[in-house]
């Protein structure tokens, strides 16, 4: 099986290399009339095809139960450390999953991490508070926490009142969360998901209460605020990597490995391109040039 998959990938590669060698997109592009195939963008097509092939290949491998190595994300250690601190102090843990609904991938990733945090919280017998911003997320969050408690072998310790819906209004939610931070004084605050202008309002309040804070978001514009106000921040793709690492879900793992391979090729291509351009040869540059 393994060799046949390799053969398929090899044949795809070789045909693409063939296309690469015999096609130069920067030449002869003058027609702008509608056409079925835009010859000027063959390079885009090849890159996309390669990327899809990588992802499908790795998902396939993961589904067959082959082990795919993903390094441990340091942020996950920070989560464990924070849970440990809450246990020592005998104070609760607060988990915030962002303000977007389940159709946002970051919320999905956050729910996976929530399951893991719930497992740790159950094992150490620390209360876990989950104030939620979207009604639909509540059901998923309840399920994640319940499963986490069950995994830790303590399903009876699960308290449904701790997963609460606050409000879907952004700033009202932020003030609700801030209220919880000030009243219940959690020792660890986790903020994973899609955040907007409320990020700093919550992270700053959490900082003022002296809690250990670990955050993660792929909303680049909010990252600076988390970086300054939290003890550890999962930056961009690390959030998805952490959820793939924890869940071992084939689709997540496969996508992560596929994009890793794509990144590796981009790096190699970039280094070669720079070297050649430095010596005045633009073959690599010309091929990725989009008119």
């Amino acid at each position: 099986m393994k060799s046949s998959a390799f053969r398929k990938l090899f044949s795809l590669f070789s045909s693409l290399i063939f296309l690469f060698l015999f096609y130069s997109p920067a030449q002869g592009a003058e027609s702008s009339a509608p056409a079925w195939f835009d010859k000027n963008r063959v390079n885009v097509f090849i890159v996309l095809a390669l990327f899809f092939a990588f992802v499908i290949y790795f998902i396939n491998r993961a589904q067959k139960g082959k082990s795919l190595f993903v390094r441990r994300i340091p942020g996950l250690d920070a989560i464990e450390e924070a849970v440990g601190r809450a246990t020592e102090m005998g104070r609760p843990i607060l988990y915030i999953s962002g303000i977007e609904d389940m159709d946002n991938l970051q919320t999905v990733a956050s729910m996976i991490i929530l399951g893991n945090v719930a497992e740790m919280a159950a094992a150490y017998e620390v209360p876990l508070l989950v104030p939620v911003c979207q009604p639909f997320v509540v059901t998923v969050a309840e399920e994640s926490v319940k499963q986490g408690y069950a995994k830790a072998g303590k399903p009876e310790a699960y308290n449904p009142n701790n997963v609460r819906f606050l409000t879907s209004e952004q700033f009202a939610y932020a003030s609700g969360v801030n209220g919880i931070m000030l009243r219940e004084k959690p020792a660890a605050n986790f903020m994973f998901g899609s955040f907007y202008a409320e990020s700093l309002l919550m992270a700053e309040t959490g900082f003022s209460t002296g809690a250990i804070q670990v955050a993660g978001t792929a909303n680049i514009h909010q990252l600076p605020f988390f970086v300054v106000a939290c003890d550890y921040t999962l930056i961009g793709e690390e959030l998805f990597a952490a959820s793939a690492y924890l869940s071992k879900e084939p689709k997540l793992l496969g996508s992560l490995k596929g994009s890793d391979l794509a990144k590796l090729l981009i790096m190699i291509y970039l280094v070669l391109g720079v070297l050649f351009v430095t010596f005045g040869i633009d073959i690599f540059l010309r091929w990725v040039f989009v008119q």
């Binding site: 963008r41 209004e169 600076p224 990144k263 590796l264 790096m267 970039l270 720079v274 005045g280």
Partner: protein, 212 residues
């Protein structure tokens, strides 16, 4: 500065609401709440009206009723079934419209994103490195920054040895970027304050300027 009564009344209201919002800096209070709710209510109401007159009327009502283009009812129906999301039993029907929209949006966006945000950026990073002037050096800085940031987001290998050092440079590059973003955000937020302060100054000059 002389203002007519109408403008003066509106400006007084605007100045009052500005102070209501500023009062939050001291403490949450009912004045802030009133102003906040007015903003949320006005923007939601305004958006509903805008959507009706700029979306529904010219894009569905006029084509179907005035121009007899009955096939516009198909997207209209796709829009209508989105309302089933409010029912637990029939919410699944809305998935037809969502999949239709997702399919088109993905088809349009993915190749263009790959082209404009990956390939185009890749080609613009292929810069010649030299030490004849500062440009060549800055090019090197950009290339090293891009490579190291990519290594930081590479999850298939442990960050140890050379890989670890490169990832560290990567995270420093990201932090410099975040610092720039943070600084510009401060500038943006101060600009909002400046706008309000200049507005208040003009307001007070217009009201009290001519009494004095």
């Amino acid at each position: 500065m002389v203002t007519d009564l109408n403008t003066a009344i509106w400006n007084t209201l605007a100045a009052f609401l500005t102070f209501c919002i500023f009062s939050f800096l001291y403490k949450d209070n009912p004045f802030y709440k009133i102003a906040e709710h007015i903003v949320v209510g006005v923007s939601a109401g305004y958006f509903a009206v805008i959507l009706y007159w700029n979306g529904l009327v010219p894009k569905l009502w006029n084509p179907v009723v005035k121009q007899g283009k009955w096939y516009y009812l198909i997207p209209g129906l796709l829009g209508l079934i989105m309302w089933t999301r409010f029912s637990k039993k029939y919410a699944w029907i809305s998935r037809f419209s969502i999949s239709f929209y997702m399919g088109i949006a993905t088809g349009v966006a993915v190749p263009l994103y790959m082209q404009n945000f990956v390939i185009r950026q890749l080609s613009s990073t292929m810069l010649p490195v030299h030490f004849k002037n500062s440009v060549g050096f800055f090019n090197l800085l950009i290339i090293v920054g891009v490579l190291c940031a990519l290594i930081y987001f590479f999850f298939s290998k442990e960050h140890k040895g050379a890989m670890g050092s490169a990832a560290r440079v990567g995270i420093w590059t990201l932090m410099v970027g975040f610092g720039a973003g943070f600084g510009l955000t401060v500038m943006g937020r101060v600009s909002l304050l400046i706008d309000r302060v200049i507005f208040l100054k003009n307001y007070f000059t217009s009201i009290f300027g001519h009494i004095l």
